[in-house]
């Protein structure tokens, strides 16, 4: 294949990775930014979203597009409630202590994973894409659905950004992130903000998973990769920074697509990890993060 089309294919693949990654990492970043806790179970919320998408689409059994839209609404809502419940039952009781919550969310990770294994099973199960249009380029064919994933993710990111910057909810969230005690002094119900943010973070991961599941199936171990990549993205972009998360996701997604296509996938992973190390050494707060207060 000639260089031009090869690069185009690599870029498209990288953009799909980046789109899903940006949504997932944004969830992780929000939770850390506002609550200052590291949610190790984030990848399992992603997995849960995919598994529920399969369950909803299968239970409805109607037209694929209808099942998919239903999954896109139901799965994030259910995952959000699970997150809300675990926030109430676990994180709040630990007073959001950073060390204790890491251990608690590791436990949560295993509980969710094993429940999925028990009730959903070990198979990888596919969800039919809402439409199966194949974009025919002169050099190769490309899935139209994949292109729509990029668009959907961009729309969701813009929506999240609008919520954060233009609404009262966003203002309250930013205030809590900026200074928890001051926010409390201004009668902001910090605990309710925390609960909401934790649920929102999980819902973003679940939405990303519903988008990706027609491409890559639901499997009970699928949460591991997104968790690792989200951490990489969040560290590079700066914890709690929306702009940083999007930029880092694009960086990691595109470099993964292009480097792994022209060189090797192992080299792409090497470079991403090296980038994390470099950022941690030279700019610990991340590219767009502010120094911890």
């Amino acid at each position: 294949m000639a260089f031009g089309p090869h690069l185009l294919l690599a870029t498209l693949e990288g953009l799909v990775t980046a789109a899903v990654l940006a949504l997932t990492a944004l969830g992780l970043s929000l939770v850390f930014g506002v609550m200052r806790i590291v949610n190790v179970a984030h990848g399992e919320f992603f997995m849960l979203g995919a598994v529920l998408a399969w369950a909803v689409a299968t239970a409805l059994g109607t037209h694929p597009a209808l099942g998919f839209v239903a999954a896109l609404i139901v799965a994030p809502l259910v995952v959000g409630s699970v997150a809300l419940l675990s926030e109430r039952l676990v994180l709040r009781r630990l007073n959001y202590d950073p060390e204790a919550t890491i251990v608690a969310t590791i436990g949560l990770l295993y509980i969710i994973q094993q429940l999925a294994l028990s009730f959903y099973g070990p198979e990888a199960r596919p969800v039919t894409p809402p439409f199966s249009y194949r974009v025919l380029l002169p050099w190769f064919g490309y899935s139209g659905y994949k292109l729509s994933v990029i668009a959907a993710s961009a729309l969701l990111l813009i929506a999240t950004w609008l919520v954060l910057t233009r609404t009262k909810i966003g203002l309250v969230m930013r205030a809590t992130q900026y200074d928890r005690e001051m926010a409390q002094a201004f009668a902001i119900p910090v605990e309710r903000v925390y609960a909401g943010v934790f649920a929102l973070g999980a819902m973003l991961a679940a939405t990303a998973a519903v988008l990706i599941v027609p491409i890559s199936q639901a499997h009970y171990l699928m949460g591991q990769d997104p968790l690792l990549l989200s951490f990489i993205v969040v560290i590079i972009g700066g914890l709690g920074s929306l702009r940083g998360t999007v930029v880092a996701a694009l960086l990691i997604g595109l470099s993964d697509g292009i480097i792994s296509m022209f060189f090797s996938p192992t080299l792409a992973k090497l470079i991403a990890t090296l980038a994390v190390a470099m950022v941690l050494v030279f700019r610990p707060q991340g590219l767009f993060g502010t120094t911890a207060r």
Binding site: G121, A124, P126, G141, S143, H219, M222
Partner: protein, 432 residues
Amino acid sequence: MTGRFFDLTNGKASRRTILKGLAAGAGLAAAPGFVRYAQAQSSAPMRIGFQAHRTGIGAAYGRWYERTTAAAVKAINAAGGINGRPIEVVIEDDGTDAARGAEVVAKLATQHKVDIVYGTLFSNVVVGSAPTAGELKIPYYVVSEGYHVASGKLNRYVFQPGITDVRAQVTSVAPWIAANAGKKITMIFPDYAFGYDHRDYLPPALQKAGAEVVAKIAIPPTESSFTKYFPQIPSDTDAIYHVMVGPAVLTFVKELGDFYGSSGPKLFGFIDSLEAVDINSPGLEYLDGSHFWEGSPRYAQADDTEAQKAYRAAVDIDDNGAAVADAKDVSTAAHMFGCWETLYVIKKAMEDAGYKGPEDRAKLVEATEALTEFAEGPEHPQGKKVFNGKIHQCFGTQNISKLEGGKLKVVHKTAIEDGMYEPEADYTKQSL
């Protein structure tokens, strides 16, 4: 609870609590499994430790290996067991993890005091566990299909008598590929041991048959997206040979379909990655008309033997190779027959050795090595096998099936001789 039952030091234990404690103790003694140890060893069960992939990447295989094992044990016990003793299976989950695999072998041998260990599929777990089995001198019968047993890299205690190895499989099917799929082949295989067996033994076998491998594409086992590898497929490729164990296979097929449309190369694949997956799943349409290797056919065939029919009924699978109780629960039919056959080999070897207990393990190893042939029949429903005691490996027939009309139909059966190769090892020279 027990603490309260026996807390007599403060003198407050009432008659009631003591009675409760006694009742619990009596219940324990009456529970199944307890009495057996009190009996003479001659009728005590033969304990087979089953290293099962209950969790981790091999869980779908593990579930069906368990079901097949249960069915075979039921059949053997109903017919009088081994040397008149029933089989008792002790299951330990290894998480499809090599390090845990070694721990499981040790636990089965030292804590559960099993007679032998059996049942492992994934090659990483076999390779990780074999040294422990060798150190503890406990016979270890795997159902893994990797070439590692026959290669001589493991030790005298490891056997693979119920399923053929990858080297024999690819050697058998290569002539058919060259004659029917094309002369220029691109290989896509997983970037670890199991894939390397394919990478190393397919090219020479194809060359012998007058075809060549034009590209070898190794894919990391955790990969979830494949489009980025497709530009590496040379445009003059006649056929793609794909073998990938992992849940991502549906993505692979779907992306291949998006990439090539209807004008792509032919496909020849190993069913391994589609085991436990409904072949009619959305996204797999692109496989229609392509060919697969199958150890034992998933779908009931018109010429199935009585033994094959009886075996399918015993393991509770329907004509489509799915669980009778749940049509969506698709089996790993191409591999799990190996559990059934391996258990019958163990039975035969134990009877030949006059096996009584762990002190006879060396005798059992020698008796297994002395086996040469297993006739087709209820004990070996997949077909006749030839066993080479020097490399601890069996040889058998392979099936090539075509996917059409939503079913896999066997179009070619190889001969046992097609898969034979010059042995590279001799385990019998190792000390016991």
